[in-house]
């Protein structure tokens, strides 16, 4: 008897050891925390990172910017307005409910009531349920970005969010500034469930036992997410082995991580462009194309990337990064001081003029120093810049007022699409459509707007790309604004964390597929 017990204990021990070697824990430190467990409350990087852990989208981006099936297994275009999606069967929500088409419809309708997501789903007329595992997404006009938008449809568990919570409020209530049931509780189909959450301090995720994706190589059983705001502290925590995975890594600390034997740096070219806008309504000279070109020639993007960004960016000559539909290979950054002076002379501003410039100092990587560098470069063509840099909290109200002659703005396209840059940054300002909302340069070219409108109805993607490339070329020739660079992305990973295979340019690492070896 004793012997049997002993061997049984041995067996139990052996199995636990085997599981222990397989399953890993991961301690993650990001610079911020999602504001809520409700995936529709705020459109932000933090929310999307969380959504990929707790929920699943219909489709998601892979590393090469193609679409990868998730809750939708295949899709086909029925006609100009309709895209049909076939949904995955046998998928369970965290609550135990079955995932069906009605959940997707419920989610879609809720998305369209969310202030943050409304604009993205503007082009859609409705979501039609065909049967339990088939849906049709119908657009108002022919619309090319149906799949891009489907990456935002993270299906929620409609049954779980139905009814009233203990405060008598409906469980699906969507509010920003007051706590709701959905902001504290979540049931999705995703690889992880929330075990414990202290907002702003730490969130513990545990792997969902019934997760549908059995093909996933991911072996991380528990994830602890701690927001660490200060860059040096975040890097120190990684180097000290207190955390295994961090984002972002400030450019100044790259070498420390390279040198360290127990951590690795993973860098990807990013998709957020940093630009300067030249306000034509405030400065008469900016109305002259030659002056705008001179400014583009005077600012050495490459130099800023090398010296201020320490190589941690890609110098830009256009809005959208490589890989986007509108990217034009030939549009290189311009830098030619002689030509800049020549253009200033031609325009009659040889003696130069004085202007004001405003930039944030805690929004983009090295933002204040980039602005300083640009200002000193403009001095070489006799443009005297009165530069002020302020924290982002104060910057945005000033930006909305277009309160300086040159303002800095960085932009990442929510739809990973070129047209988005133009719509927000360089289109003529139109309050009714929201176009040009961030166009503090007041650049306005109706031809460009028409091209974008055309592109937004062109479902032949090759034709559409040609239009968007034309837009980039026009903006380049017109020197509509000053492109600086696309920020790179950098993650730090501890030993055995195979981060490289799960990170992507959108910066939502698919941690469900992460493999950690001991």
């Amino acid at each position: 008897m004793k012997k049997i017990l002993k061997s049984m204990a041995g067996m139990v021990l052996a199995t636990t050891l085997a599981v222990g070697a397989q399953a890993a824990t991961l301690k993650v430190a990001y610079d911020s925390d999602p504001v809520s467990l409700d995936p529709h409350e705020q459109l932000s990087g933090g929310t999307l990172q969380m959504s990929h852990l707790l929920f699943d989208p219909l489709v998601r981006w892979d590393k090469d910017m193609n679409f990868e099936p998730r809750l939708a297994t295949k899709w086909e275009r029925k006609d100009d307005l309709t895209m049909r999606f076939h949904l995955r069967q046998g998928v369970k929500f965290h609550s135990g409910n079955d995932f069906t088409a009605k959940d997707v419809k419920w989610t879609f309708d809720r998305l369209r009531s969310s202030p943050d997501y409304k604009a993205i789903f503007e082009a859609f007329a409705e979501l039609k349920v065909i049967d339990d595992y088939t849906i049709d997404l119908v657009t108002k006009k022919p619309f090319p970005l149906v799949l891009n938008n489907a990456t935002y449809i993270f299906s929620m568990d409609s049954e779980f969010y139905t009814g009233d919570d203990d405060k008598g409020q409906p469980k699906d209530r969507l509010v920003k500034h007051a706590g709701s049931f959905a902001s504290r509780n979540a049931s999705g189909t995703g690889p992880y469930i929330v075990e414990r959450r202290q907002q702003g301090v730490r969130t513990d995720y545990k792997r969902f036992a019934d997760y549908w994706d059995k093909q996933s190589p991911g072996n991380v059983e528990t994830i602890t997410l701690t927001p660490i705001k200060e860059g040096p502290t975040r890097v120190a925590a990684l180097l000290a082995g207190d955390v295994d995975f961090i984002f972002p890594v400030p450019p100044n600390d790259h070498n420390r991580i390279y040198r360290s034997s127990n951590s690795e740096l993973v860098v990807l070219p990013g998709t957020r462009v940093i630009t300067l806008q030249l306000n034509q309504e405030r400065v008469e000279a900016f109305k002259d194309k030659r002056v705008r070109q001179a400014i583009n020639y005077a600012i050495n993007n490459k130099g800023i990337v090398d010296r201020v960004m320490r190589g941690f960016a890609t110098a830009a000559g256009q809005q959208g990064p490589k890989g986007y539909a509108g990217y034009v290979e030939g549009l290189k950054p311009q830098y030619d001081l002689e030509k800049a002076r020549q253009l200033m002379k031609e325009a009659g501003y040889e003696k130069g003029f004085s202007i004001t410039m405003l930039a944030p100092n805690n929004r983009y990587v090295n933002d204040a120093r980039i602005a300083q560098a640009a200002a000193s470069m403009l001095a070489k063509i006799n443009i005297k810049v009165d530069l002020k840099t302020i924290p982002k909290a104060q910057y945005w109200p000033e930006f909305d007022l277009r309160a300086a002659d040159i303002m800095m703005i960085g932009w990442h396209s929510d739809t990973e699409d070129s047209a988005n840059f133009t719509e927000y940054l360089t289109a003529c300002t139109d309050e009714s459509t929201g176009w040009g909302q961030y166009n503090s340069g007041n650049y306005c070219n109706h031809k460009v707007d028409d091209m974008i409108r055309l592109a937004n109805q062109e479902t032949d993607l090759a034709k559409r790309a040609a239009i968007l490339q034309d837009v980039e070329r026009t903006l380049y020739e017109e020197a509509a604004y000053v492109p600086l660079h696309w920020q790179n992305l950098a993650w730090g990973a501890g030993k055995g964390v195979q981060a490289e295979s799960v990170v992507n340019v959108m910066n939502f690492p698919y941690l469900g597929d992460l493999v950690v070896t001991q």
């Binding site: 202030p115 920003k176 701690t226 705001k229 925590a237 000290a240 104060q394």
Partner: protein
């Protein structure tokens, strides 16, 4: 005594009122809270609608009146980020800060008193010179540099101590999640407490030393020595007791500085306390939380100063509280 407390209460309320008025009137300059709450592509019209819904477009007096009428019922507003009553959020973070301050205070007391006394008794020894030399260094290095240096040395290079956070917490009577009852928690406390203490230590060592030097020259100490009392008793009971009054005064004033420095220490060590909370609130333009924090800290000041005054009376009964309050 009761009169004194009553006066202090009235004063405290007045202070709080002024703080609330000031912090409320600067909130428009802190930035736009909506910007932190919505995505980049949300339209201006949509943001206006939300502002309207949240009552941010109301005139100042209407907003302030609403705030005050709730505040007298103990409701200081709801944090935008935490979505909970601001007061509640702060109270949840208070233990972490108190533990940090407590640890730093212990370090200050147990290091500054013996070393201050030693420096006074042995003015020419090499150890005295070392202590005073290091304390000059301590005064001139900003707290975040000390903190980053400590992390670099003890966490990264030596790997002895954790670099951030509070570690494992043990619940005490279900009221308090404390780091003082687990090894992990204590290890997490060492560096932040030391960093926080490092600003005050030099000051107190020097203060105790100079007061002690003075006390050693007084007649009663000389007399006590002459009488043949044990040295330890002379130094630590007779002399030290009389050096404590100015030390306490400075200590009371320094509590304020301590609160300010917890902000820096907590943000470097990612310590989930009130100071860190405040800094984050400023970044996020979480105005209700900022206002509530200022009021709570104002309250702490009033309470601490009152306690210091009461302690005064206990140590030196000739101090008349009711009169000093006038």
């Amino acid at each position: 005594m009761l009169l004194f407390l009553f006066r202090r209460l009235v004063q405290g309320l007045a202070v709080m009122f002024v703080i609330s008025l000031i912090s409320f009137s600067i909130q428009d300059n802190l930035g736009d809270p909506l910007r932190e709450m919505v995505g980049q592509s949300v339209s201006e019209a949509e943001r206006q609608a939300l502002r309207e819904e949240m009552g941010l477009n109301d005139p100042f007096l209407a907003q302030y009146g609403r705030f005050i009428s709730k505040a007298v019922r103990g409701d200081l507003g709801t944090s935008y980020f935490f979505k909970e009553p601001a007061l509640q959020v702060i109270m949840d973070k208070l233990p972490a800060t108190l533990e940090l301050v407590f640890g730093a205070t212990l370090l200050i007391v147990f290091i500054s008193v013996p070393s201050g006394v030693y420096c006074a008794i042995r003015p020419n020894s090499w150890l005295t010179r070392l202590i005073l030399g290091v304390s000059i260094l301590g005064i001139s290095i900003p707290v975040f540099l000390t903190a980053i240096f400590c992390i670099y040395l003890f966490s990264i290079e030596l790997g002895w101590l954790p670099s951030y956070g509070r570690g494992e917490l043990v619940s005490v009577f279900g009221l308090w999640e404390s780091g003082y009852f687990s090894k992990d928690g204590i290890l997490h406390l060492v560096l932040p407490c030391f960093a926080l203490a490092s600003i005050m230590l030099p000051l107190f060592i020097r203060l105790i030393r100079s007061e002690m030097v003075e006390a050693l020259h007084t007649e009663y100490v000389k007399f006590a020595k002459a009488k043949g009392l044990r040295k330890v008793r002379v130094y630590f009971v007779h002399a030290l007791k009389n050096t404590m009054l100015p030390v306490l005064t400075v200590g009371g004033v320094q509590i304020g500085t301590m609160v300010a420095y917890t902000i820096l220490t907590e943000s470097v060590f990612q310590w989930p306390g009130m100071g860190f909370l405040f800094l984050e609130a400023v970044h996020r333009v979480d105005t209700p939380l900022i206002v509530a924090y200022l009021i709570v800290v104002g309250g702490i000041f009033v309470i601490v100063n009152t306690l210091v005054d009461i302690l005064y009376g206990l140590i030196n009964p000739t101090v008349n509280l009711a009169r000093t309050a006038q």
